[in-house]
Symmetry: C2
Subunit: 214 residues, 2 copies
Amino acid sequence: MLSFMEQVRGRNRRGQGERLRAEIIEATMRLLDELGDDEALSLRAVARELGIAATSVYLHFDDRDTLVLAAIRQAHESLLAAAKAAGEAAAKAAGEAAGEAAAENPAATLRARALILGQWAQEHAGLYKVLHESTLHQRADMSFKEELAAGTTAAVQRCMDAGLAPAGDAALIALDLRAAVHGTVSMRVTEPNRPWPPLDEQIDRFLTKLVGLY
Amino acid sequence: MLSFMEQVRGRNRRGQGERLRAEIIEATMRLLDELGDDEALSLRAVARELGIAATSVYLHFDDRDTLVLAAIRQAHESLLAAAKAAGEAAAKAAGEAAGEAAAENPAATLRARALILGQWAQEHAGLYKVLHESTLHQRADMSFKEELAAGTTAAVQRCMDAGLAPAGDAALIALDLRAAVHGTVSMRVTEPNRPWPPLDEQIDRFLTKLVGLY
DNA sequence: TGTACATCAGTGAACGCGCGTTCACTGATGTAC
DNA sequence: TGTACATCAGTGAACGCGCGTTCACTGATGTAC
């Protein structure tokens, strides 16, 4: 007996088995985003979400932890892509506005990076928590996350090189900035119902005061 | 059959039933600190930790959630007391060093507050996570936490009033400071095995750059 | 062109486990008469 | 001073549930001869 909501789901064609893998990761990300906690996610809930047998997950993932890690990895990838795209778009726009031919604008790039991080976090609150606050960090290697930090350090360094911010230890300053942005985003995401002041203004204060952006 | 580790635990005397209540909260805090995640804590684990029947917990708490909330409340109380004590001790020490008779020193107070928060978080990493990042925030009223924020705002305001920092919106500046400190502490607590730069120096940068402490 | 067979994509029943919670109970201790 | 009784502090068995994981299986589809 099927409820009217349920799709009758045919099996994938031969050679298309990898499709289910992608769907499982997608569903896992969706559930993690709702739950905001990797411990609370169950493999059976993922299977239920897709209308497949719980055992089918094992066709593509060794166990629950592997699945969760794959989903987190993909979330990181998505955040990374968003940060990169926003940074590039901002640099280009700022360059054109100034009449320069798509010149680099490191300050606009850094600002866009910080803002998109805040925006992504608010759109994917649960995923943000899992990606940055989960206790999984203790049990699994999540060093792939360093790429995100490296991007911010590089952006800060470019600001210093261009004379848009006082020279200094770019890695240290970038860490200060990341800490501040993560802190406010974390608070907003954990307690979304408090009356928070505007995020973009706060991020601008961080850029001005911590990085020294003119 | 008892293992040699287990104490034979007699029941409390008449009128001393509340003792168990305190022990249960203590054990819950201990476990939450180890787990760093309220979802992962089980009432049965608490009972096991104390060598009592799982049902005995119900003598003092309506259900699992009530118990967890009571433990979190107590953790907050402990953090609050630590912040207050550190702030007062610092103000007194700084006042005496300057030859003043236990005069107020708002800058030293604010600095001590921020430092003790970082220290407490490192000593009670799991509890810090539960207190500030738990998804319980969505399900339960945790407005008692406002007291901690209010203390920081007041300390910032006193710095401004004493001319030790540029006048401004104390609540907003205090939020910036709390966000930055929470951010770095959160990162350190989530990924304790990374090579972090010294926390106190970073907090001093936040005080100088965000609050404008001279 | 037909057929046996291997492979692929996925299923369903079953396992043992720990969980939160309910219920009826036990047994020591203080109190009223 | 003795005894019946109420109260207090806590227990043990049992419930139904959802979980991760294992196992033997099914049935469609492509391929070799």
